[in-house]
């Protein structure tokens, strides 16, 4: 790879009180790439991506997007760069319906004086939401129902659809398939493929080796808050990945 990375984290540190969640973690993803971020529970995966997208601010280290330092930016500013995140703890409003969740924080207003008064363009948002879900082959039983009335899998699909439809450059997904059955998981993986086909990049956090082997171009492994391996999917195997996750095998150059 000779191009500059789309996103790069270098030697990021983050502590919560006594817990050192990140001890100099690094990460890289290039344009049009799907990279799986793997690691044991507590390895710091969620913390790393929250630090990248502005929910946490790093204690030290660097985060660069297209060469520009974005460490400590406000989540809104990071979003404006074209980065969207599906958080492990979903971040949906359970009492709002599907269109309202898809447009949360980006509500569309009516044109003219009504819009100036803050009146929502509900019809237009509903129509666009249906279209987005259709384009992504996401099937929601009742789009006008509060999202809490949907199954865990459907809620997850809405969160994924929201991220994919707003992200211009990079989608970050934190265990998006953890709550899903086999068919829904396959749907999310197919969606990831399509995001890549559109020239965008995906960071996929997952514990599922088969899923990762199926969809990822590369795999980066975190252990105890540090990167311990950078692997190319078709040059590695499950044993090596598990070895990296458990500490049985370390790649010297990774950190």
């Amino acid at each position: 790879m000779t191009t500059t990375p789309l996103l790069e984290a270098r030697e990021v540190t983050k502590r919560f009180g006594a817990v050192e969640a990140l001890r100099g973690a690094s990460f890289q993803i290039f344009p049009g790439e799907v990279v799986a971020l793997m690691g044991d529970n507590g390895a710091g995966k969620s913390t790393l991506i929250k630090t990248i997208c502005g929910v946490n601010s790093p204690d030290g280290g660097e985060v660069r997007f297209e060469g520009r330092s974005i460490a400590g930016w406000h989540p809104k500013a990071v979003q404006a760069l074209g980065i969207e995140t599906v958080y492990q703890d979903l971040a949906l409003a359970p009492d709002l319906d599907t269109p309202a969740n898809l447009f949360l924080g980006r509500e569309r207003l009516k044109p003219g004086i009504l819009g100036a008064l803050g009146v929502l363009a509900k019809k237009s948002m509903r129509a666009e939401a249906s279209q987005v879900l259709k384009d992504l082959s996401v099937k929601i039983k009742d789009e006008t129902a509060p999202i809490s009335n949907l199954s865990g899998g459907q809620q997850q699909s809405v969160a994924v659809a929201r991220a994919v439809s707003w992200a211009d450059k990079l989608v970050i997904m934190d265990e998006p398939t953890a709550a899903l059955g086999v068919p829904q998981t396959q749907a999310v993986l197919a969606l990831i493929d399509r995001v890549r086909d559109s020239g965008r990049s995906v960071v996929l956090i997952s514990h599922s080796l088969p899923d990762v082997m199926q969809v990822a171009d590369r795999i980066e492994v975190l252990r105890l808050g540090r990167r311990v391996a950078q692997l190319v999917t078709r040059e590695t195997n499950e044993e090596q990945i598990v070895g990296a996750m458990t500490g049985a095998w370390t790649q010297e150059v990774a950190a």
């Binding site: 409003a93 709002l96 009335n149 199954s151």
Partner: protein
């Protein structure tokens, strides 16, 4: 990919069952939405009193009286609806009402307590005083991170105390006659101006809640504040606006009350906060936030008012109202809990 052709998973089957269940429960007209059940209860109450004493109860005059009696609570309940939907609570409203009335009285004294000039100054002063308390509530909650229950309990005491200090404990009674004749007792096409003001406030509040981005974000903040924050919504600023708005409406109720009763009624509003919360919750707004409608609040305000009126007409002690309202309140919250429990686990 073809998720549509696979046999339904258990997940999808349980979803089907869930949809059926909710469809059966919420089949009623869209307009009322979750306020349907409670509207039926109000209609039932009206029918019962109409059957018991049609001649005295079922008259335009008596219904107007019920609306007059409910007007002040309704104005405050509109603000409380927003507050409760954010998942908060405002215990300070009755005290802020009294405080705002006192400030209005003092300001009107400066203008000789007579004439339209004094009246308008009094109205403005009450609105400013109420908004100020609302801003204090909002700042204590968002900046000092004091829970709304305690923050507004504090201003409940503080506002009442200051009102007593300013007046030495003696009610002000210097209302300009213009104010009494208009807001206090005036009518337009036979409808009391007091009632018109309350209904207009409720209508505007309802439209803001239902149709605007501000309303949408009020639901979002109450439904999942963290989700709202991550979606780029400034949650603290939104909460501050909601409490300021509720305070302003308590201030408005203050000048309405002063005009209606001709006195600052220092001792008359100690339980307004509970009555307002009861009305809003009866109307289907959830104490846990994220859910509620303004139509529900209007109905929820009318139920206690209708009970109080009807019970007296049929010759029962009006204390039965307190009993009945208590029962309806608990039943409303129980229904809300049932609805929440029927949700899929998050």
């Amino acid at each position: 990919m073809s998720t549509g052709t696979v046999t339904p998973t258990t997940d999808e089957q349980s979803l089907e069952a869930e949809n059926l269940r909710s469809r059966r429960g919420f089949r009623m007209p869209r307009l009322l939405g979750s306020a349907t059940d409670i509207t039926l209860i109000l209609i039932l109450i009206v029918v019962v009193f109409a059957v018991l004493d049609f001649q005295s109860f079922f008259t335009v005059q008596n219904f107007t009286q019920i609306l007059i009696n409910a007007a002040l609570l309704l104005v405050m309940a509109v603000g409380a609806t927003f507050v409760l939907i954010t998942g908060g609570v405002d215990l300070s409203v009755g005290s802020v009402l009294v405080f705002s009335g006192v400030i209005a009285g003092k300001v009107m004294e400066l203008f000789g307590s007579a004439g339209w000039g004094a009246s308008l100054a009094g109205i403005a002063a009450a609105l400013v005083a109420g908004t100020a308390w609302g801003i204090v509530n909002g700042l204590v909650i968002t900046k000092l991170h004091v829970p709304p229950l305690i923050a507004t309990l504090g201003s409940y005491g503080a506002a009442q105390g200051l009102a007593q200090i300013i007046t030495n404990g003696n009610d002000l009674k210097n209302v300009p006659i213009e104010l009494v004749d208009s807001i206090g007792f005036g009518r337009v096409f036979g409808i009391p101006i007091l009632v018109i003001i309350a209904l207009v406030v409720a209508a505007i509040g309802g439209l803001v809640l239902w149709a605007t981005r501000y309303g949408r974000r009020t639901y979002a903040v109450g439904s999942n504040a963290e989700a709202a924050r991550r979606a780029g919504i400034n949650v603290d600023r939104h909460l501050l606006k909601v409490y300021a708005f509720a305070g302003m409406l308590a201030g408005l109720a203050g000048i309405l009350s002063f005009a209606k009763f001709g006195t600052t009624t220092l001792a008359g509003h100690a339980t307004d906060n509970l009555n307002v919360i009861a009305a809003v919750v009866i109307g289907g707004t959830s104490l846990f936030g994220g859910v509620g409608t303004m139509i529900g609040t209007v109905v929820g305000t009318l139920i206690p008012a209708t009970l109080a009126n009807g019970l007296v007409i049929v010759g029962l002690n009006s204390f039965w109202r307190d009993f009945a309202v208590g029962v309806v309140l608990v039943a409303a919250v129980y229904l809300d809990q049932l609805r929440r429990r029927s949700r899929s686990p998050r």
